[in-house]
Structure formats: C-alpha cells, structure tokens
Symmetry: C2
Subunit: 454 residues, 2 copies
Amino acid sequence: MVNLIRKYGRILRAPENFLQPELIAEMQRGQLDETRRGFLRKSFLAAGASLAAGTALARSAAAIGADGDPNILALPEHSRTLGKPVAANPYGVPSAHETNLLRRESPGLTRVSAASVAFTPLQGLFGIITPSGLHFERHHQGWHDIDPGKHRLMINGMVKRQKVYTMDDLMRMPSVSRMHFIECGANTAMEWGNVAVPSVQYSHGMLSCSEFTGVPLSVLLEDCGFDKHNARVVLAEGADGSSMTRTIPIDRALDDVLVAWGMNGEMLRPENGYPLRLVVPGVQGVSWVKWLRRIEVGDKPYASKDEAIHYMDAMPDGSYRQYTSIQECKSVITSPSAGQALLDTGFYNITGLAWSGRGKIKRVDVSVDGGKNWRTARLETPVLSKCLTRFNIDWEWSGNPAVLQSRAIDDTGYVQPKINELRAVRGTRSIYHNNAIQSWQVAQTGEVSNVQVY
Amino acid sequence: MVNLIRKYGRILRAPENFLQPELIAEMQRGQLDETRRGFLRKSFLAAGASLAAGTALARSAAAIGADGDPNILALPEHSRTLGKPVAANPYGVPSAHETNLLRRESPGLTRVSAASVAFTPLQGLFGIITPSGLHFERHHQGWHDIDPGKHRLMINGMVKRQKVYTMDDLMRMPSVSRMHFIECGANTAMEWGNVAVPSVQYSHGMLSCSEFTGVPLSVLLEDCGFDKHNARVVLAEGADGSSMTRTIPIDRALDDVLVAWGMNGEMLRPENGYPLRLVVPGVQGVSWVKWLRRIEVGDKPYASKDEAIHYMDAMPDGSYRQYTSIQECKSVITSPSAGQALLDTGFYNITGLAWSGRGKIKRVDVSVDGGKNWRTARLETPVLSKCLTRFNIDWEWSGNPAVLQSRAIDDTGYVQPKINELRAVRGTRSIYHNNAIQSWQVAQTGEVSNVQVY
C-alpha cells in the first residue's frame, strides 16, 4: 500500500484505474490496517531526516530525528542542481506525476468514439475553474481544428440585413467575459436506473466551468436588424458534419447568450468549438453549439433532429417533454467519492461542487449518514450566477460505515431532490436532466462506492 | 496583407515577431489602404458563397452571392467528414492555429535562462484567468518536477510543536479556493528609464492570475502552536537550489496567505512550484515561494539575500527601501498595444487589466489622447480583491494618431500615477514597483508602439 500511495501521490485521489486489481487485492489482504498504523509515522521520520542535511534546516531538524537510512543525509537533487530554464515549455504542461488525471471515455457507451463522451476527472480537481485540457468532450461527429482565417458566422432569417462575419469582424466588437458552468443534459444519466457507475468522473463528469469571452448575441442581432415584432426564436448551427442545430427562445438569446471565442483566457480549444461557440448560460450543453457557423432568426421552434429525437425527457406516461433545457439546481461531493479510498481515520475535508441554471447557489448542506442529519457547508467565493460553486466542510471519520450526500439550494429557493422524489415525477425511462442528490458509501475498509439511498 | 491576416488569424493580435520585416515592409509600401478597401468585401463574398453549398444554408445564402471561384461550392472538409474521437488528447492542447501565443524569454535579460523570465502574452489573452500553460515564469536556479510523494513541508522556529507534513497530510486539511493575481516586483522595470520595450508581453507580462487552492497558513501555524506573544514574522523557504527565502510579517501570514497545491482547478505546474507554493495575495511574486519546503516562525525580519541585495527599491537619494512588497494599484491596456497594428479605421474594443494589492478595483478610466480626456471603462465581473479585473471600452478610430492610456483607482481611493509623478518621488534608478500609467501610441499607419507621455 505504501508503494501505491507513492505511485498515486496522495491518499484520496482515485488511482489510474479505480478497479486497479492490485489495490483491491492489497485491501483484501488487510494491508490497509498496517498502513494506517505505519505510513504516517514512517514518512514523518524519513522526511525529518532528509531535511536535516540542509544547512538552513539543521538546527530544527535535529529535534525530529532520523531512521538510519544512509541516503537520507543527501539533499534531494533538485536542491543541489541547476533546474530547467524558463520557457523550456513555451506552453506549459502538467507535472509528469499527474498523468493519471485525464479525461476518459467510457468504453462502450456509444458505438463510435467520434460520437461519444470524454468525462472530466472531477475527483481530482479543485476550485471552480476546469483546466481547459480537462474540459469534458461530447461530439456527435468528432472534432476538427478549424482555420479561424477561413471560418465565418452567418446571421440570416428574420433580419433586415443578412450578414457574414469573419473572426476579425467579431473580435473587434464589444466583448464581455463571464464565468459559467456547462453541463450535458445527459450528465448523471446512468443514475436514473440502478446502474451505479463507479466514479464521479463517470457519474457527473459531463460538467465543466470556464471563463468565457465573446460578443453578446444581442449585439449581433441588433447589428443585423432582427425583426423585433415577429422573431420568437433563433436557430444555432454548427460547422461540423453532425448537422447540429438547436432552437433558443429569443428572450434568452437577447439576455445572456454569448458568441464566444475565449475560454479561460485563451482561444477555445478545438474540442470545445474553436474558433467560435455559443455560450448559453444555465442551459444544457447541447445548445452551446460548437464550431458555430450560423444563427437564423425565426418565428417558431425548429424541432430539429436534436430536439425531436434526442434530448427529450421520457416521462412515465410514455410522453416526451421537449425543449426542457435548463439545468436545475444540483450538487455532488467530488472527494471523497466513489473509487477513492480513505486510508486512515480522522479528519477529512469533504469538498464538492454545486450549480444552478436558474441563478446563484444559496446554500449547500452535507450529510454523512445518508440524509438523516445535515450540516451547512462553507461556500468558496466568488459565488456567481449559473456558475459552479465550490463547497467544503470538515469531517472526522470514525472508521464506521458512512453515506455522504450533498444537497444544494439555489437563490430561487429550489431544493435539489432525492432520487426517489425525482423518480416519482419523472419515472425511470429518462436519460436527461437527472439532478438528484448523489450518495457515496464509505465502507469500513475505507473504500468509497456509488450507492442509491432513498 | 491579406496573406498576413490569414497567417495570423486576426487583425489585432501581435504576430509571432512583432517586428516581422514583411509586415513593416508591406505597411510602408502602402498596402494597408488597399486592404482596408478590399479585404472585408472579398471575404464577405467568399464566405457567403462557400456557405451556399450547405443545404441548410441554401435558402438564405443565395441572397448573398458568389464570386466565381470554382472551389467555393464545396463544403469545407470539416463539414463533410468524421472528425477526431473524444479523448484523442486525454489532456487537451490549444489549436495548431494558436502556436504564436507563447510565453517568451527576453533574450539577454539575464546571463542564464535558468535564472530568467518568461513573460505571459497578455496581448492575446481574454478575461482574468491566465491559462496555466502561459503563466509567467521567474526562476532563480531553474525549475524541477518534484515528486509529491517525497516532498515535505516543515514548520519550525517559535512553535510549540515542530512538524513535518507530507502532501497527503496537507491535502486532507480544510482548504479554500481564491482567485488572485501574481505580479513580479520587477514587472515593467524597463519603463523606469526611457527603454520602451516593444510589446505588452515584455513590459507587463510578469503578471498572471489564477484560482489557487490550499490550506490557510494560519491553520498550519495554529496546528504547530506558534508563539502568539513573540512571533513577528515567518520565513518561507523553497526547495530549489537558489536558497530562496522571504520574510512575511505575522499579521499577513495569519490573514490571507495560503499554502497552495491547486492552480486553476488542477495541481500547480512544475514551473509554478509543484507540488506546493506560498500564495501571498497582493504581494510581489518573489514572496510566493515556490517548491515550498519550510516555514520558520521568528521574531525579526531575516534580511535574506533576496531581501538585502535584491528586491529593494533604489531611491533618488542613494538609499534603498527594504521590505516594500505590496503591488500598488496598476492597469494596462492589453489590446490594442505595442507591436499590434490596426488594419482599418472604425470600431475597436479597447481592453485591458487592472489590479491592486490593496483590495478591489473601483474604477478604470481610459484616454485616447494621451491623458487630456478620460472616459470610464466597463468592468467585467467578478471584481475581486487582489485579483485581476478586466475592463473594456468602445473606441472609434478615425485614422489619426492617438495615445491610449488606462488609469486605475482602487477601493482605498488610490489613483494609479503618471510616470513623471512616480519618478518625482522614486527617481529612475529603481528596478522594482513601477505601477505608472502606460502609454501606447497609434500611428497613422495603424502601427502601435510603446511611448512615454508625461
């Protein structure tokens, strides 16, 4: 187990493969208990000793002791040598020790990987900003790296002046920057049934949050002289081969929708729509059309294939709810979460994310006993509208089994429902818009798993 | 010029080499005027025509016309083919069209590149979050990728319990996430004299902003039982070979200082101190000790080499101000900025950054006539304490020469000074803490350059 801890860096973070056979085997052999007793003590002693060789440290380190390893008197190489120069990586990359933290496809979820999902590894992330390299991916026909010099945005339909904009045209316009979450409407889809997927990466990882920069769609619609009396919707169309089109009500289009080129300070990544995507705050990801090439102003919903066949809520009476696009208030504990293991009793920082497509998060409550008792978590600032909010709360683990849950409340007063409350209205046939409370079970061994608690 | 526009993607952004000889030559040959007349019209027609082939577009595109190019009737390849699969890059990278936007070393600034600077390309960034791959670098002995499993933090000195923490120990503690700017005390150093460096990347690029996650230093000091009656300072020490140590007053250490492992949602990058660095909000970058391995509690400033030889303000009377660490209120227009070129008259979005080590930005004013007249810019939200604030303001360029300036005011009421006001107090011998108003001159040709306006 000590080797595994070294290999994976930290106690809590999920190993490369959460079903890593050697991890399970070690646990089953009961080495966990040995680790609990021995690891902290050993590492404490070794650390004190290796630090002792630094002259600046000698005075105080002497009080800490050494364990007799002949090598520990040498300073580590990085304290004795000249390191790498600046701009060794003109565009930097993560540490070689962090190669486990990747977006991952769920094998077999779809027939081809060009029309699939790669999930964000929420279990290893901090704060609210998702690193752009780990932003989730959902493509319908694969992704391309489009030449921005050749890309165009057309605005047509019920407008006085049909226009085609170059990227240069758009990037000269008044721009705004805003932080928003994006969540696929099918996030947490498997939890409608009793299929408990084995980690938060796969249960909730179609969720990311970035600072987006672009021109308000309202500015472009004004520029084209849209028909204020008759326009009811806009249709957004992507430039990839999937014929992706989505209808957006005109009042929303004029409110906070952006035609965005910037994400987390730089240009969008190709997988996220470079050079241009729609940002539709609070609305499911499919409407945030990537590689945006056209906006058509119309007077009725278009009922496109992605609105009439997919992305509809199957209801228990056999009907389908269409055009349900707002991502309702939701939260999830990202650590400890399924696939991780607590290697010791004592203090843990329970941390997670909360969000609402209706506005700001007002409060997050956390339970460690499956919903019997709740305590209010600390919210990290800033708390922004239609943006992820990070919460943290202290927890002392006694070593007994526990069920961890979080429950978010937004500033409309809406309370995140339990899974059975949601099923009572929505049934179990749906794929989309599951915002139920998530339960993680901590076993006596420290293993954390995905369970459904009613 | 059209080729150059294609090559660099957008009109405003600085080309790879801002002194690109062919760009200057083309400008001098007067091709700018031809471009102004012809480019937008040409690209408009070509775009309308190429879009016309898409069936979904045929109806409206027919009204836009075509220019006879036989290739334009084909849909672009990315609209006809299957793209790349999800997780093709499990850790994503920028578009191949964005390879110009890199952090860059200023050749000759220091004797060796391991003790140098790589600047953030502010001219091409949006919003307030700096992509971690473009975070500026300033090393004193190069950088290393330290194994977090072996890294330790010791706390010693005036404490009841000297302790050595593993990364696992630290990451189990109560953590907070906060967005803060970091600026090197020597940022904009060359502007003390009349050496106008040729782009905002080199004049202001030792500036970045991230969401940091870590444990408050106050929690660790409490954990070790620091001497509340006699402690006056802490000393922070890095694990690289430069023997970097910095003194921090105890009241600041107990206020908002973090021992951080997270940056923009993931672990720190190696160049930025992985796995552990100090975050000292509002204070110059040198105190944000990277690869943090030790905190010593003491009762007087340590006057370490980086406090007694370097990082002191040379005053006009020959004396030196020591321990000046707060980064005072400052701002800069990032676009248009030196090294860029305006290729057309008309509307531009002037955009830039403002920040204060004392608190929040209250207001940013912008002048386009060298400080004679000022207008108040729009501030993007969120406006956070000791964090970058993005500002934007509309500007119609007539084609006449202009001098662009921004002036920030923070919530203490402090107003960013002019360079001659700063020099009247500080002289011209200093390297550090130049927070003067920056001037960019727009020539009639559209070329933007760095000038000093008094």
